[in-house]
Symmetry: C2
Subunit: 161 residues, 2 copies
Amino acid sequence: MGIDELDGRLLELLAAEPRIGVLEASRRLGVARGTVQARLDRLQGSGVIRGFGPDVDPAAIGYPVTAFATLEIRQGQGRDVRAHLATVPEVLELHTITGRGDMLCRLVARSNADLQRVIDKVVGFEGIVRASTAIVMENPVPLRIVPLVRQAARDAGGPAS
Amino acid sequence: MGIDELDGRLLELLAAEPRIGVLEASRRLGVARGTVQARLDRLQGSGVIRGFGPDVDPAAIGYPVTAFATLEIRQGQGRDVRAHLATVPEVLELHTITGRGDMLCRLVARSNADLQRVIDKVVGFEGIVRASTAIVMENPVPLRIVPLVRQAARDAGGPAS
DNA sequence: TGAAGGCTGAGCAATCTGTACAGTGATAGG
DNA sequence: CCTATCACTGTACAGATTGCTCAGCCTTCA
């Protein structure tokens, strides 16, 4: 487990220019094509790279409002609630968490008004006792991974030298 | 703005098999290659598809712990705090939100113990008054977009018929 | 010393991409 | 009703890329 400096550079490159091919990547990185191919295979095999799914902007398909909802669940209803939330398309992700509240989910909606509908759909279920919602105004740091990759690569490569 | 049924199927297909090429996609969808190419260009041009960045699993590169932190910011320090958090690699995303707390950020760490270090780094800054953290235990619904795409495509295609 | 693993550079057949062009059907405007 | 526009189809071609394999070289490790 872990990645070295070359893996890090490869991931950065892929993040910056995803449509790049193996051949072009090998040129940019200054290594042989076979090396890039082998690294990619390994990264995917080991689960570091989950995939290359299209990064779809919810706002661009009509869902410009994002919100986070903290849910409090009735004891023992966790499984049912999870199953319920999984059926709601506007629930983009769901986590079970420690602390105040039992679950945290990311929601999107067509408008602030529509968010009410979404929340009703989410909360309108047996096991959910209470929900508290926070609407996202700005997103100063969009979901990113490159800085972390860079650090992980440094941690692996630095101390070893 | 909005996507039709064919866009929806294309996005679903890309999500399911990202390494697929334009030609193979056109075969699967039963349309001409040029059509797929045009749709892809349009989807990327209109911002629906932001990119095809590699989906990296933080756990696989040594950061298996995820947490969400709600931050309370001192009046007028928002800009500085944003800039500060942007420099922390373990901050995967940052939102400004309504309600209790002013910002919500997603963090990762090498372990529960390491999370303390990360939080110290995040909170160790002038403008942050208070931070409340929730550790993620499970992730029953990983970040997903397909169900939403499907619904958006239905909404666009259905009522029109 | 020998074995194993990773990288290089090269080669080959098959495939895919970028691009262009003509034909067709549907739609919107005149 | 006629016509321009637009999207999709089917086809074509040159150039680039991919998947795969092989031999050689170097470093690490037992």
